[in-house]
């Protein structure tokens, strides 16, 4: 028993300091894991004193409220525009925006792409749960074909609602983008891989290489209307074929 | 405090986009600013930058200018055929209307104003610099009103065109200015 505890202590990082606990996410939601990862990386990189988080309007904002760093949150979609300006006027601060997939791929798409094209030296964290979590699980740009949501009661059909959107792949070809990648936290191994990629994304901002975007796949048991364990299977079987993991762009120096 | 209406300049240039109303207004405002304590200049044009009705209002006074916009002006320079009748109506009684009659074919009907017909556009084209037509009209304005000495205008043209694309036209513009002055100095009333 005592040996097991020792191993566990070795594997898991120091408990992050949150301003507000519990986070209040639904059971089985992966946002809590993602926020913990964010906090771990920020602490390990020693940037907590410089970090400012621009949260969005949606479930992603709840985690932003809890982080023990300077934060702003509420508006749905324009996080990249806010972060762009804040970084420009305070270049020594470490600025990241957290967005849901609907914010990034729908209402905030214009700013997301424009910010990437300008090569703003900020990091964008996307949380992709294939639906609008807070408003009731409606069709998001990332909803899979065939997925039933309140606004696609017969399942998403290409003729009606088009194909799922891929944020990191969309902006990766833009010259202003230094890093674009996707990860998931539905298994411990993937969690560790994602943490590494998240750290790389953050390092691009420290090295002033340009725009970085990292997308997390996440479960949404409440809106998918399946159990948390079935969610893991859903990610494995349905989401991964649509949303490939890995790095789509990773530049080491500016052209 | 009563405003004295006699000690002031109030001019409208009514043309079409591209006729040089803006340049006319800017130049006259700059020149007026050298002699008057207060000036105002309002460019007023339709959404079309080229070809639409374009008008500038220039005022100068030793006392604070109450309004930079007015219906009636003491002097109106008109180069717009479509705006001609309105321009004629807007000259204050006893005022002056200067018409570019190479563009405007109609004749004024009012008898309580002084009207000069100056073929500025045609003369400018003949000298090879159509862009100087508004400077010919400026010269005509100066001579017809004696509002400013020509030297002030010349100085203003020099200082405002220095280092700009207009510098190329400096001597042509000055020549045009004097052309306009001569046209009025030797002006003969046209038989009706």
């Amino acid at each position: 028993m005592s040996q097991k505890t020792a191993i566990t202590k070795k594997l898991i990082c120091k408990r992050p300091t949150f301003r507000m606990l519990p986070l209040g996410f639904c059971s089985g939601c992966h946002y809590g894991i993602i926020y913990r990862l964010l906090d771990e990386v920020i602490e390990e990189m020693g940037i907590k004193g410089d970090a400012i988080c621009i949260g969005g309007g949606g479930c992603s904002m709840i985690g932003a409220m809890a982080m023990d760093i300077d934060t702003f949150g509420g508006p749905h979609g324009p996080g990249t525009a806010i972060a762009s300006a804040l970084k420009r006027v305070s270049p020594n601060a470490f600025i990241f925006a957290v967005q849901g997939d609907g914010e990034q791929g729908a209402i905030g798409l214009g700013s997301f792409v424009a910010t990437a094209a300008r090569g703003e030296n900020i990091t964008v964290i996307t949380m992709n749960n294939a639906c609008y979590g807070m408003t009731g699980g409606q069709l998001a740009p990332t909803t899979l074909l065939g997925m039933v949501t309140p606004t696609t009661p017969e399942g998403r059909e290409q003729v009606m609602s088009g194909y799922p959107m891929h944020g990191p792949e969309l902006v990766a070809p833009l010259k202003g983008v230094a890093y674009a990648a996707r990860g998931t936290v539905h298994t411990p191994a993937n969690r560790q891989k994602s943490k590494k990629m998240l750290k790389t994304a953050f390092q691009k901002q420290q090295q002033q290489l340009g725009f970085g975007v990292f997308e997390f796949l996440s479960a949404c048991p409440t809106n998918w209307k399946i159990s948390p364990t079935d969610c893991i299977q859903f990610i494995e079987e349905k989401m991964l074929p649509e949303f490939p993991l890995g790095q789509f762009k990773n530049i080491e120096r500016k052209e | 405090m009563a405003v004295k209406y006699d000690k002031r300049v109030r001019v409208i240039f009514a043309g079409l986009g591209g006729h040089g109303a803006l340049a006319f207004g800017e130049l006259l405002t700059e020149a007026a600013a050298r002699s008057y304590k207060y000036v105002s200049f309002v460019p007023n044009y339709s959404p079309m930058m080229r070809g639409g009705e374009s008008e500038t209002m220039i005022a100068a006074s030793q006392e604070e200018i109450d309004s930079p916009v007015w219906r009636e002006a003491d002097v109106i320079i008109v180069t717009s055929p479509t705006g001609f009748r309105v321009a004629e109506q807007r000259v204050s009684p006893g005022g002056i209307l200067i018409v570019d009659d190479s563009v405007v074919r109609e004749k004024a009907e009012r008898e309580d104003i002084k009207v000069f017909y100056i073929p500025a556009r045609r003369i400018a084209c003949e000298t090879g610099d159509p862009l100087t037509a508004n400077f010919i009209l400026m010269g005509a304005y100066l001579e017809a009103t004696k509002a400013f000495p020509v030297e002030i205008l010349e100085e203003t043209i020099e200082s405002t065109s220095k280092g700009t694309s207009r510098e190329r036209l400096l001597s042509a513009n000055k020549r045009a200015l004097h052309e306009g002055i001569n046209l009025i100095a030797n002006y003969k009333e046209q038989p009706l």
């Binding site: 301003r19 907590k48 004193g49 410089d50 400012i52 621009i54 309007g57 904002m61 932003a64 409220m65 023990d68 760093i69 300077d70 934060t71 702003f72 949150g73 509420g74 508006p75 525009a81 806010i82 972060a83 762009s84 300006a85 804040l86 420009r88 006027v89 305070s90 601060a93 470490f94 214009g110 700013s111 424009a114 | 009563a2 405003v3 405002t29 700059e30 600013a33 304590k37 207060y38 000036v39 105002s40 200049f41 309002v42 460019p43 007023n44 044009y45 339709s46 959404p47 930058m49 639409g52 009705e53 008008e55 109450d66 309004s67 930079p68 916009v69 007015w70 219906r71 705006g83 309105v86």
Partner: protein, 357 residues
């Protein structure tokens, strides 16, 4: 000795912002105010400031919010349809109490409007506050030199009350050239911006969370009580207006912006004809100078509101006057339509005054 220069109204906006110590500008091109952006794009980089042309007005106002989060002064300028696109960010800033300045150089009409046309058709739209039932101060200059002063005042009011402050000009004011004196106005001390987001290391380890989700931060009545208390302070301290020859007037003309200039001339022309006319000019459109308006209306007996719109200011005047004297209206239909864009000229105002006598 202060320097006296010729400037357009739009340039005066830009110069005033720089004189007020604002080094951050965000905007999207729209006629008739793009010259403000041109000026900032030229000057700010020289001063180490931030000029950023956004992907739209919505983004411009959110960039304004982002820059203002740092505690630095920031401003944007736009024209009517652009203000509509900025409504959400304006409401967000007011909710999270992030101070910033926005300049609306009005253009004519609903829809796309007409970029090259004068209009005062934003009055009701900008003076009723943002969605969510909260007001913000709106200042209405009527000359180039007053633009220069009121833009600086707008920054002061914004910082003093942690609110978004608007300066409302129009096509004529923006494009016209007049003299102005270059100077920094001192409006008094300001509170420290201890709420600004800078990273906890720069704030002695403290962290702040600025949230626009009203219900999550405060109880709802508490939030509105706080906003109301702030509005009351602004009403008490910042209400501004001006009168011209109103002391002995028995006919009062009311207007703001360029219409107030035309009205001022109409007053002078009327006086020349022996008509005792006067001018009442609200300088703050919100808070509207209600008490002064009522007092002056009561004194003169007859009121004519002149504005280049179907009617916006006239509603505020009627509310303020509370029926103590008749309120007449001369609006957009009184334009001299034969000129390229048609303005309400002093001569037309005088004609109306004579007809109403």
């Amino acid at each position: 000795m202060t320097e006296r220069i010729l400037s357009t109204g739009n340039d005066a906006v830009a110069r005033a912002a720089i004189y007020a110590g604002c080094k951050n500008y965000f905007g999207y091109p729209i006629t008739p105010q793009s010259e403000i952006a041109h000026y900032m794009a030229r000057e700010l980089p020289k001063m180490g400031g931030c000029f950023l042309q956004s992907e739209g007005e919505y983004a411009a106002a959110y960039m304004l919010l982002g820059a203002a989060l740092s505690g630095q002064r920031a401003f944007t300028s736009t024209s009517s349809p652009g203000v509509a696109l900025m409504q959400e960010p304006l409401s967000m800033m007011i909710t999270a109490e992030i101070p910033a300045v926005i300049v609306d150089t009005q253009r004519l009409g609903p829809g796309t409007g007409t970029g090259g046309q004068q209009g005062q058709t934003d009055y009701s739209f900008v003076t009723r506050g943002v969605y969510g039932g909260i007001h913000y101060p709106v200042l209405a200059p009527y000359s180039v030199s007053e633009i220069f002063e009121l833009v600086q005042l707008a920054f002061h009011i914004a910082d003093k009350y942690r609110v978004v402050t608007m300066v409302l000009t129009d096509f004529i004011l923006g494009r016209m050239t007049e003299y102005m004196e270059l100077k920094t106005f001192d409006f008094g001390p300001l509170p420290e911006k201890d709420w600004a987001l800078k990273g906890k290391d720069r704030k002695g380890g403290r962290t702040d969370f600025l949230l626009t989700v009203t219900g999550m931060m405060l109880d709802i009545p508490g939030f509105f009580a706080h906003q109301q208390e702030k509005s009351n302070r602004i009403i008490d301290s910042e209400t501004r207006y001006e009168t011209y020859k109103a002391e002995d007037a028995d006919f009062l003309i009311v207007g703001y912006g360029y219409a107030a200039r035309a009205s001022k001339r109409a007053v002078n022309m009327a006086r020349d004809q022996g008509i005792k006319a006067g001018l009442f000019r609200p300088i703050t459109l919100w808070p509207f100078p209600k008490e002064a308006m009522k007092r002056e209306a009561l004194k003169s007996g007859k009121v004519l509101v002149v504005e280049d719109s179907p009617g916006g200011l006239v509603e505020d005047v009627k509310l303020a006057v509370e029926g103590v004297s008749p309120v007449h209206f001369l609006g957009i239909q009184a334009r001299h339509t034969a000129s390229p864009e048609g303005l309400i000229f002093p001569e037309r105002i005088l004609q109306e005054v004579r007809e109403l006598l």
